[in-house]
């Protein structure tokens, strides 16, 4: 069964450093998403991406964050100058249609120290 894959599974980074989280969405999907879950809290929407541009973003997704689909298969989330409060599990997801079932990766656990 096709799946969304994410790397790394866990990353520890120092505050102020840049982090890139990578995702390979399901191959025939066109809509891509990043969500995050801070420990003990709800799954929060960050950004959606379609046709090589951001289609929607939340207030969490400020200038510190960026997304890119550099090569037609990978979908990356870059976090510049990480803060302690960025520590969370980051989930990549993809779907064939917007607003329809989205399929999640296993998550990348980011710890900022």
């Amino acid at each position: 069964e096709p799946e969304v894959t994410q790397t790394p599974s866990h990353q520890v980074t120092q505050m102020g450093q840049e982090v890139i989280l990578r995702c390979v969405p399901i191959s025939n999907h066109l809509y891509f998403y990043w969500y995050r879950q801070i420990l003990g809290q709800k799954v929060e929407f960050l950004v959606s991406f379609y046709n090589n541009e951001i289609s929607e973003k939340s207030e969490i997704f400020d200038d510190q964050f960026s997304v890119e689909r550099p090569d037609g298969s990978n979908f990356t989330l870059k976090i510049r100058s990480t803060k302690l409060e960025d520590s969370a599990m980051y989930f990549c997801a993809s779907s064939g249609d917007p607003g329809n079932t989205i399929y999640f990766g296993e998550g990348s656990w980011l710890t900022v120290v």
């Binding site: 969304v4 994410q6 998403y33 969500y35 809290q41 709800k42 799954v43 929060e44 929407f45 959606s48 929607e56 599990m89 989930f91 997801a93 917007p98 607003g99 329809n100 079932t101 989205i102 399929y103 999640f104 990766g105 296993e106 998550g107 656990w109």
Partner: protein, 111 residues
């Protein structure tokens, strides 16, 4: 602004009995509803969905009921199994919009 609400943070059910997980929503524009199951340190796994034109959808042991007038949906698991122990997220979307999640309900099925 909690558009999708799961008011029960946890639920314990005996193996073999029915588990009923509830969800309320406030946004009348939502037209597609989903349930995801999540184990610790894993991504949410899609379980079952229902569109607003239906009031019931069944898939094996899992049934989702939608009451549009009450803006309420529920997930029924019958019979419950220990492997069903996980956090269940209710989620909703409107056409061409992002999926919004509830805070989750932790289900424990006791053998």
């Amino acid at each position: 602004d909690q558009q999708v609400k799961q008011n029960s943070p946890s639920l314990s059910v005996q193996e073999g009995r029915i588990s009923i997980l509830n969800c309320d929503y406030t946004n009348s524009m939502f037209d597609y509803f989903l349930w995801y199951k999540k184990y610790p340190a894993e991504g949410p796994t899609f379980l079952i969905s229902i569109s607003s034109i239906k009031d019931k959808n069944e898939d094996g042991r899992f049934t989702v009921f939608l009451n549009k007038s009450a803006k309420h949906l529920s997930l029924h698991i019958v019979p419950s199994q220990p492997g069903d122990s996980a956090v269940y997220f209710c989620a909703a979307s409107s056409s061409y919009q992002k999926v919004t999640f509830g805070i989750g309900t932790k289900l424990q099925v006791i053998p």
